[in-house]
């Protein structure tokens, strides 16, 4: 009975050596990637080589391949929840910027300027002809206008900076989708399973990064390429080996919004589509919401406040008379509408030129007397009048509500971030429990394959001794 000669002993030993060192390569790769985010640990699979003869003995060992541990369900959840976290994490900065801008720790903001302005009219009612008190009214009017102007400017700056950062994020998204498209291409042409596995692992890392930026759907096609769409739509970001190019166009006008367009080459449709309303989550979705809704709303609110201040103050002031006996003057320069009102509000040139033009009197003071303070008192009463939101709040209350609304929204976002961080870290843990590398396990494997290698080497040396013995005959 022939079971193979000494020569086959060498062959099996060589198989063993090769297989053990391949396995150690896989193990060492796992160890090397212990800190690589998104890396899925790989397992070396080996099997018995079928015997070439008809004997009972096996033909040695053979490497069957490498596989990786991935739980697709957890992976998918992680992608979704990371997008959600990205949304609120992105919005946190703007929310805290707005609340810090509107909130006045001391007495330097819009709210206290409104009160000071109306107080200055009350002060003027003590002595309507006093130059000093008239000057006080004018300065407080200018201060109020300045505060509104600068708050408006800062909100606009925030909006502009945010548009810039959206541009950067869009560039990031473009580069990530391009990477995935190019990995798709490599996977399609790769023949080696191990190479495919490496490419998929790399693709998964990019996918997670993409999910931070924007909410996505994804599925693997039959040729193992990954198709990625904007979440909740069929609009593709990656299709086979081509990726969409997103571009930004920013409308800087009052209430203007930022638009994101998508162009994808290849396939049946190669046109440019407006995808703004579909970019709903991820840091990009969050920033887009802040740019187009949150900031525009805050700017609108401030404009409405400025516009109503101008029109209501003027409506009373223009019925009054200056010290020179002339009526019909505006206190603030009149505005055509609420657009940009907070930027345009200014004390009227007539008032700036001559303090006598401030109207404190209800009749010509030459007739009623220079002590006529009735218009000044009407203006004081205006501070208690329900002049905002169709007669439901005063100027001061309206501004307070703006501040507390900003606080509520910032608080909610902070809470969402905290809750979402915990959810993502739990999912990450679940994923790592399946796919993550455990160094102790790898060390055990390393020892295991090292011993196997040593064993095969020993077989080789024994076979060599046997051959020696034969040759010395």
């Amino acid at each position: 009975m022939s079971v193979g000669g000494i020569g086959s002993l060498f062959g099996r030993a060589l198989d063993g050596l090769r297989t053990s060192s391949s396995a150690m390569n896989v193990t060492s790769n796992n160890i090397a990637n212990v800190n690589t985010p998104g890396y899925a640990r790989q397992i070396f699979i080996q099997g018995t080589r079928a015997s070439s003869g008809n004997g009972l003995l096996g033909g040695g060992v053979v490497a069957l391949g490498v596989t990786s541990f991935i739980d697709p369900f957890v992976e998918r959840q992680l992608v979704n929840e990371r997008s959600e976290l990205g949304t609120y994490d992105g919005r946190r900065l703007i929310a805290s910027n707005i609340e810090n801008l509107l909130y006045e720790k001391d007495k330097e903001g819009v709210g206290s300027a409104i009160t000071a302005f109306f107080n200055s009219w009350s002060e003027l009612s003590q002595d309507a002809s006093s130059g000093a008190l008239r000057s006080n009214v004018r300065e407080n009017g200018r201060l109020l206008a300045d505060r509104l102007n600068s708050t408006h400017t800062q909100l606009l700056n925030m909006r502009r900076n945010l548009s810039g950062s959206i541009g950067t994020r869009v560039t990031t998204v473009n580069s990530l989708t391009e990477q995935i498209a190019s990995i798709n291409d490599s996977i399609r042409s790769a023949s080696d399973e191990t190479a495919k596995l490496e490419l998929k692992s790399e693709r998964n890392v990019v996918l997670q990064k993409l999910a931070d930026e924007v909410g996505i759907n994804y599925f693997e096609a039959a040729d193992e390429t990954l198709t990625i769409q904007l979440v909740g739509t069929g609009l593709p970001l990656v299709r086979s080996n081509s990726s969409a190019v997103l571009s930004v166009s920013d409308d800087l006008s009052v209430g203007g919004t930022l638009t994101i367009n998508s162009t994808i080459a290849g396939g049946s449709s190669s046109s440019t589509v407006d995808v703004t309303s579909y970019v709903s989550s991820g840091a990009l979705g969050g920033s887009l919401h802040d740019r187009n809704v949150t900031l525009n709303d805050s700017i609108d609110d401030l404009n409405q406040l400025a516009y109503n201040l101008v029109t209501e103050v003027n409506a009373i002031h223009s019925t009054g008379y200056g010290l020179d006996g002339v009526d019909g003057r505006n206190f603030f320069a009149p505005l055509a509408g609420s657009d940009n009102a907070a930027a345009l509000i200014a004390v009227d040139a007539g008032i700036l030129n001559d303090l006598d033009n401030i109207a404190a009197a209800e009749e010509d003071p030459a007739i009623s007397g220079v002590g006529d303070n009735r218009i000044a008192k009407q203006l004081v009463d205006l501070s208690n009048a329900l002049t905002m939101e169709g007669g439901s709040s005063t100027f001061s209350q309206y501004y307070s509500t703006m501040v507390s609304d900003a606080g509520i929204s910032a608080g909610q976002i902070n809470q969402r971030v905290a809750a979402q961080e915990i959810l993502v870290s739990k999912l990450q843990q679940q994923r790592d429990n399946v796919s993550g590398v455990n160094l102790d396990e790898e060390a055990a494997d390393l020892l295991k394959y090292q011993r196997a290698f040593e064993g095969s080497a020993r077989v080789m040396s024994v076979a060599n001794d046997m051959l020696d013995t034969l040759l010395q005959l």
Partner: protein, 314 residues
């Protein structure tokens, strides 16, 4: 036996996020301790921020009301002292009338009395035209011109004096929705409004001076010293009544001031409660957070430095 597989990084990332959260909490608490404020941004307590804004706004308004009250109080003190001076002056005029009404008095003596009465009328005029800080306080809205002038033919003229001031008077808001005048009309008492039973002070003084000069001590004559004395009596009663009214106004001002000052103190306390942090509690919380952080750090040290199988591969 089944067990949960744990990846090497899980422990690291767990400790990292735990340390992050604990550091954030410690930062928040130390901000409270160092600023002494519970609310450092609206999101710390949006509801309280809304209330705080309202309270601070009303504090600022109360400050303005208190400044207005100060002005009103000063005005009424000036008015009261002017009316009191007028009263004393009329009392003196009545004494002179009493002396002059004595039938045994000779012409030169009456002439001397008439000269003193004439001086008193001039003093009354200067009270009517009191000017404080450039404002004629008895002219209503017309604070820039002398409101009262004597007729050139004084004392032989009717009416004896004219009022050129305004019939509208300044008032100030001293509380939300509550106004108080800061001027008093005197034209009705001093100059007369032309009503039939009018006995204005200047007219009575003119009558007295003229009667003394003309030695008219016939009590039945409506232009006698005795009649003038009765007119002055009526004037004195009117002045007393006016002083009582002024006292009422001052009382109202002081009441309002006390109430606003109380309100201000209450608001301050409320603001303090809403805004400030209980120092003892905040420091206690901060220490607790610090201890928790230290515990996490030492736990992390123990767990993460645990020997690995790697250590035994030689």
């Amino acid at each position: 036996m089944t067990f949960f597989r744990v990846s090497s990084n899980t422990a690291f990332s767990n400790f990292r996020s735990l340390l992050g959260r604990q550091n954030q909490e410690l930062l928040r608490l130390s901000e409270q301790v160092s600023s002494g404020k519970r609310i450092n941004r609206p999101s710390d307590d949006p509801n309280a921020v809304n209330i705080l804004k309202g309270l601070k706004n009303s504090q600022s308004k109360i400050d303005q009301y208190l400044r207005n009250i100060q002005v009103a109080d000063r005005s009424w003190q000036q008015i009261e002292s002017s009316i009191r001076d007028s009263h004393a002056l009329i009392v003196r005029a009545k004494e002179l009338a009493l002396q002059g009404n004595n039938g045994t008095l000779g012409d030169p003596e009456r002439e001397a009395l008439a000269v003193e009465v004439s001086e008193l009328s001039k003093q009354l005029l200067s009270i009517s035209n009191t000017n404080i800080n450039g404002e004629y306080i008895f002219g209503g809205f017309k604070t820039d011109a002398k409101p009262v002038a004597l007729d050139p033919a004084f004392p032989n003229a009717t009416p004896a004096a004219t009022y050129s001031g305004s019939n509208q008077f300044k008032s100030l808001e001293i509380e939300e929705g509550s106004q108080i005048e800061i001027q008093e009309r005197i034209d009705d008492l001093f100059v007369g409004t032309g009503a039939p039973d009018d006995q204005p002070l200047f007219q009575s003084m003119a009558k007295l001076e003229a009667a003394l000069r003309s030695n008219n001590v016939d009590d039945d004559d409506p232009n006698s010293v005795g009649q003038a004395m009765e007119d002055l009596d009526a004037g004195l009663r009117a002045l007393q009544q006016r002083m009582a009214e002024i006292g009422g106004k001052s009382n109202r001002i002081w009441n309002t001031r006390d109430r606003l000052e109380n309100q201000k103190v209450l608001n301050d306390e409320f603001i303090e409660q809403l805004e400030s942090v209980d120092a003892a509690e905040a420091i206690f919380e901060m220490n607790r957070a610090q201890i928790a952080l230290q515990a996490t750090v030492s736990a992390a040290g123990a767990v993460l430095n645990q020997p690995s199988l790697m250590d035994f591969i030689r």
